[in-house]
Every structure is written in C-alpha cells, then in structure tokens.
Amino acid sequence: MAGTTWVFAEIVDGKPVAVTLELLTKARSLGGTVEAVAFSPVAEAAAATLGEYGATTVYAGTDPAYAELLLGGPAADALAKLAQEHSPDLILIGATYTGRDVAGRLAALIDAPVIANGLDVAANGDITVQSAIFGATQVVQTKFDSSGPKVALIRAKSFAAEPGGGGAPKLVKIDAPIDEKHRAAKMVESKADTATGPKLEEAAVVISGGRGLQDPKNFDLLHQVADLVHGAVGASRAVVDAGWVPYAMQVGQTGKTVKPTVYIACGISGAMQHTVGMKGSKNIVAINKDADAPIFKLADLGIVGDTLKILPQLIDELKARKG
C-alpha cells in the first residue's frame, strides 16, 4: 500500500503494550509509511521502541493530564485533529479497553466507519479487514467503502511482534489543548489484580474453569495444577460474571485471547463467547461431564468425566511425577 498507516500506540507503565508492537509489525508489511501516535506524559521515552518496530515518525502527546483523565476522550480528540491535518489512509488500533474508547470516539469525530474485531488486514487497492463471527465459526472479509481515514480495531495476538531494525523515529509533539468536558472524567487510581506465576497471555499452559467447577473455591484446584506446570489460570465469562474470579482472568470475546501450547478447559461447555478467545491454542484438552458439550469439537484430547474427580487425580499425578 503506497500510503500511510498510523498505529495508535497505547503506553502502559511507560512502555508500548504488546498489541501496539504487533500492529506496527503488521503495518510494515503493508508497505508505505508507518507512523505511531502516542498519548502519555512519557510518550517520548517510548518512541525508541516504536521506532524499532517500524514507526518512522512518532506523534507524541505529552500533556500530564493524559495520565490524570480517562484517556479515550482527549486522545480521540487529538487524534481526530491530527488525522484531519495529515490524512492517513488507515488507522490501526489494538482492541484493548482504551483502544476501543479511542476508536469509537475517533470514528464519530471524523465520521469514518470503524471495523472492529479484526484478525487481519490487507491492503491491495482496497483495505480489507478479516474478522470472525458466530464464535469464530465463520470468517468474514469486510472492505472499507469510505473516503478518508479508515479505522480498524484489531484483536491482540493477531500478529507476532518482530522488531524491524528501524532507527530512532522522528518525534513530533502534538499540540492539542484538552477540551474542558474531558476533565469531568478523572482517573483516581489504577488497581492491578494480583496474580502470581506467568501471565495468562504468555503462559505455555493455560488451565481455565467454567460453571462445571460448581463452586468458586474449586478454582483452587486449577491454581494447584497451574503451579505444578508453571501455567496460568483462566476462566469463562459465566464464572467471571458470577463474581467467582476477577475479570483479568476472563478468556473469550470480551476477555483475553490466549494461544498457549496447551489449553485445558475444565467444566467449560464451549460457548462461542469463550472459544473465540482460545481457539488459536496449539493444543486443547477438555474435561466435561457432558459428552455433547461443544468444547469437545475443538479438543485434541477430550475427557468425558467429572472435572472435580479428575482434577485432584491430575494434581496427584503431577506431584508424583515431580517426585
């Protein structure tokens, strides 16, 4: 694509988040110019990494208020103004919570369509975004028909992030005063759910639980298995909604996308909402009482049986193996 692709660079704890680097990597492969736009008091410090992954220019909004306000509102305003000045062809935004805030407001401000839930993007004359619907049973290609910038929300882990050997990018300060209305939504504090062991998105083994565990306290069995295999524990939306475990553990359409070497689904029926987030795992093991549960259609190894009986046996086996 002989044009310009922008990547919205989300900065958390002073660093670009993983999906930002994934999108920069993909943007490089589209050809044309790749630029990044970042909003954070420390955006300039993150510029070197953005350059390494392909941005030749980094537009940086460094107003201290970006850390004190709900970011989506002021960031979208500034991005809209910048897009009107520079007319990029495509704006790629990672489908994080903040990314969705920015994309929605931006699309309304510049009157551009947004294609969400993207898993891939192609640019050969037209810009086409690939997404999956109905629980990833169908793959859809959607083409932008509009003139002006095209906004695409791309799910995390759709691409591998690889540095492109680019040098230091050109740094351009964004000068956009923050509209008074955005000062009405203040960020008071940020709380992290404490979890030990590897991160859900990075673990080689993920063991997830659903309603079939019957009681929140049975998640302890999953944690024991996770500890023994150096894995991470995930959950279905049903049990997160029921308040058994925190949202940070949710795997699925509205939660995290994981692609571990082995995914173990315990007492999870395999609702589409869930499978979207784990279908890309290299191997899937499922334990469920119900032989007709849809999760078995995805499983490389399926055990039809009582999860609450099998998990303690699994813990014993793993302990015995460790000696």
């Binding site: 290609q141 925190p246 279908k279 490389d300 190894l301």
Partner: protein, 254 residues
C-alpha cells in the same frame, strides 16, 4: 435525574446466528429475538439510580417493529417510557449509523446519564457507547464493573487488562456497564401489566432529521473457518488424569 438506557433486540444468544447469503446482514426471520441479556444490567443500573435519587428511566432502541417487545420488557422492569426508532432504511446499519440515530433520539430531551452495555451480544462491535459520548459531547465512562452515583456524579470501577481503574466523573456522561455490575431484576406481574400502558414514541429517520445512511463498509466474503482436526474423545475410566499428563509430556510443556 433523567437516565436514558439504550437497548437492543438480538437473536436469541442460544441460537446459532446466520447471515443472509445475499445481503450479508443478520438473518432475523424464523429466529427467536430477545432483549439483549447484556442490556438488562444497564436497565437495572438506571432503575437503581432513579429509585435512590429520583427521576425516571427512558429506554431507547433502534430496531424493526418487533423491537417493541424488548422495550416492553424494559418497561416491565420499571422504565417509565420508551422510544423506538424504526425505519426500513436502517436495515444493516453499522455501528456509527446506530450511534448517530441513538444520539439524535437522545438529544430530543434533556439527559443526565446515558447507559449502554459494553457491546451487543450479536454484533460485538463494542464501539457504540464511545461514539455516543463523542456525538453527545460528553465523556464516555466505559466498562464499569462497579458503580456508585447520584444525580451529579459517578464513581466507577472501570475494567482494564490488568485489573481496574477508579474513575470519578461528573454528569452528564455516557456510561457502559459490564455484566456483573448488578443483579438485574425480573419483571413483576404488576410491572408487566403496567408496561402495556406506558408511552412508547415511534420515530422514523425523518423525525430525527437524519438522511438515509450511506454504508461505509461492505462484507465481501463469508467463509466457514478452518475446522480444527478432530481429536480423541474418551470416557473417563479412572485413567483420564494420566492421559492428560501423557499429553502434556508429549507437548513438552512439563
């Protein structure tokens, strides 16, 4: 306080969705439609706010004529009145068109708070709340998993990738709530009876001063996803745990 809750009627989430092969829009014939289960949390949040701080809840929905059923359910839960925007030109409307239509309908009366779900259960675009915020010129406080508020302000726990942020906002604002923010009530028999006589405004695009939207995107192909290879499914005969350990060993993760 005036609370507006945006709701959507969707194909029963327990049924398997289908696209019309010629128009690539969601097939609605012969499919049971229901109030989006995700919307019940927004309705409940609105009702709790007005019950404590006074005012009323108006539900707004863009849908075919049948969408009236979803509005009636919200009225039966306790909302005071409904607005249904229905127009053949809106079939297959994208997220931005939907947001423009809802914003135009919301603007017809003063509002303190607009509540939505985080995304619909059928389309999953998940950008309408933010678009509404921009179109209405107010902050969009999104992904609330916990909510305190009154007629002037809100304190929200907003879901993040690693936990949650605490956001303090003054009204007016748009608020999107996740499932789990509250426990939606069931409509009472009395509520169901009362809902039948509550007012519902029916509007077409022209009533909102809007023109037929131009779609900004076209679906060019729909294909079945690559199926995973069929695996080995076995009854647990007491050896299930051992088989899993064997599998983990074969994959060299232990």
């Amino acid at each position: 306080m005036n609370v507006v809750v945006c709701i959507k009627q969707v194909p029963d989430p327990n049924s398997v969705g289908q696209l019309d092969p010629s128009t690539h829009t969601l097939r609605r014939e012969g499919v049971e439609v229901v109030l989006d289960p995700g919307d019940e949390y927004g309705i409940e949040a609105g009702l709790q706010l007005v019950e404590t701080h006074g005012g009323e809840v108006t539900v707004v929905s863009m849908a075919p004529e049948k969408g009236l059923d979803a509005i009636r359910k919200a009225l039966a839960m306790g909302a005071a009145k409904g607005v249904l925007i229905t127009d053949p030109a809106l079939a297959g409307a994208d997220a931005l068109t939907t947001a423009k239509v809802l914003a135009a309908a919301i603007k017809r009366q003063p509002f303190d708070l607009v509540i939505t779900a985080t995304e619909s259960t059928d389309g999953y675009t998940g950008t309408v709340p933010q678009m509404l915020g921009a179109l209405l010129g107010v902050p969009s406080v999104t992904f609330a998993k916990h909510l305190d508020g009154d007629g002037q302000k809100l304190t929200v726990q907003r879901q993040t990738e690693s936990g949650y942020d605490v956001i303090a906002a003054t009204l007016p604002a748009v608020l999107s709530v996740t499932a789990g923010v509250n426990e939606p009530r069931y409509p009472s028999l009395k509520g169901i009876m009362a809902a039948k006589s509550k007012p519902v405004d029916k509007l077409a695009l022209g009533d909102l001063g809007l023109e037929t939207p131009k779609p900004g995107q076209t679906i060019t192909s729909v294909q079945p996803a690559e199926e995973r290879k069929a695996g080995e499914i076995v009854e647990d005969d007491g050896e299930g745990a051992k088989r899993i350990v064997g599998f983990l060993e074969a994959q060299k993760v232990i």
